[in-house]
Amino acid sequence: MNHLPQAWGRPRDDIYGAYNHAHLAPSHPTTHTQSPIVTGTSVIALKFRGGVVIAADNLASYGSLALHRREAAEKFNDKAVLGFGGDVSDMQYLDRYLNALAIRENYSSGSGAGEKASSTSTDASEEERAESLDNEGAGTGMAANNLHKYLQKLLYRRRSDFNPLWNHILIAGLSSPPPNAPDASPQPFLKSVDLLGTAFGAPSLATGFGAHLAQPILRRVVPDEEAVKKIDEATAVEAIRECMKVLWYRDARSLDRYSLAVVTKEGVRLSEDERVEGQSWEFAEGIRGYGTQVV
């Protein structure tokens, strides 16, 4: 044995020659996800007085191929809904991850019966209840702001590992009251986090093409936090529906079916089979410059 710890336990160089590191060297550098594969596109959301409305179309695209339908809006618990843009398999991973998290959270918050105000209506179909069994984090203390902070840390960690989760996520719901005012009523919460862990909030938010096509329309409805207090749920839902229509008109990777969720203090109302209604394609007549037109 010599005095060089790095040589301990290894064949002696003076007998066997220096170790040839080329034997185990990989032929190329380690790479992780370089681009998303199956993707979802726009998620749009808007705050209003007392809640948030969020919508995402139900398309999963494989490049430009419309691959299949999906659910892009995921109910986390009675206080939070997630909207996923970007890679669908990463969305599935996050869904399972958060499901496991919600189960663990439920352990530490005790069995917690009695205090839980369940929002699942009694006349829901058996299937709907089976859905809610899957994903509803009842008894989970996590409000939308907690969930957002958690996801931000998670996504930033992953990008720091050079292995990002290729999503742009909107987190909509109600925030937990601040520690210095535990009795304050929950405020509408809307923030986003992207694959780099970049996080910010705004009265209206959109991912994917929605950021270009829907965001300006939503900003006209709710320009700032002050305006949030002035509009009601019906106006907000109407604005979101209008934006989904615009996205269906102009975004080639979109679908006329979408999910829409409204979070208020009464809980989450999630509808997964909305349709774009009142379509009019007359404007298409005036568009020139591509397609089959000859003039």
Binding site: H68, R96, G112, A130
Partner: protein, 292 residues
Amino acid sequence: MTSIGTGYDLSNSVFSPDGRNFQVEYAMKAVENGGTAIGIRCKDGVVLALEKLVTSKLLKPGANKRISTVDRNMGVVSAGLTPDGRHFVSRARDEAAQWRSLYKAPIPTAALANRMGSYVQAYTLYSSVRPFGVTAIIGGWDSEVEVPVDGQVGAGPAVGAGGKKEGEKHGGPYLYMIEPSGLYWGYYGAATGKGRQAAKSELEKLDLAAGNLTLEEGVKEAARIIYVAHEDSKDKEFELEMTWVSSLSGPTKGRHEEVPQKLREEAERLAKKSLEGDDDEDDKPEGEKMEE
């Protein structure tokens, strides 16, 4: 116990000449000293109840819950050494999480009982460990309807998941009891701990196999049975802890939860009343007392 170990009880994993494992039998002794725990499998759910003996007046009433949730749809209650019970629950939760990460679905109650049975049994095989000092009761509900796969995107096949036989019943309430030896059976009604004999004879009167008892009746019976089982150690104070899990259409919507305070208090009131009734009409035959 009539015979003592005479040297064959010093090590786990050693049989006595007449084929007994004394360490396991001693572990069962530990269970017999614990507060009574029972489980009732009703037609639309499972009730778990525990006689939690109050060891100190300095403990906060209602705190330190002893019935634990595993995944979302199962509960575990145990009698015997509390720390062993907690480790048992911890392992059960790991098993449930591991099942989910592999199969993307909740673990069936029977599968959890099987895995925990194997785990407990492994602690009877080696001289470096001692058996579990608990008998645990696992109550759970498995979904009767098709549950979406965790993280499912889109609808999946219209026929649902495979592996199900036509016309056969799948899912429902289940109840298992696991003993320190690793032995486990499925039960209609299970009881363990100090008052198990009294509790078992009360459970037998309920005719649970017929499957007529509703969950709410089950809660009231569970409370009554715990009170009956407590009769022998009346001088000690205790708290009644009760949890339940119902089907999706029931009060807990397929989740294992604590029985709401209102219902528990009502059940306790009826339990006390029926015990007082017992004292007054001691000469009445057993069957009539059951009617109320």
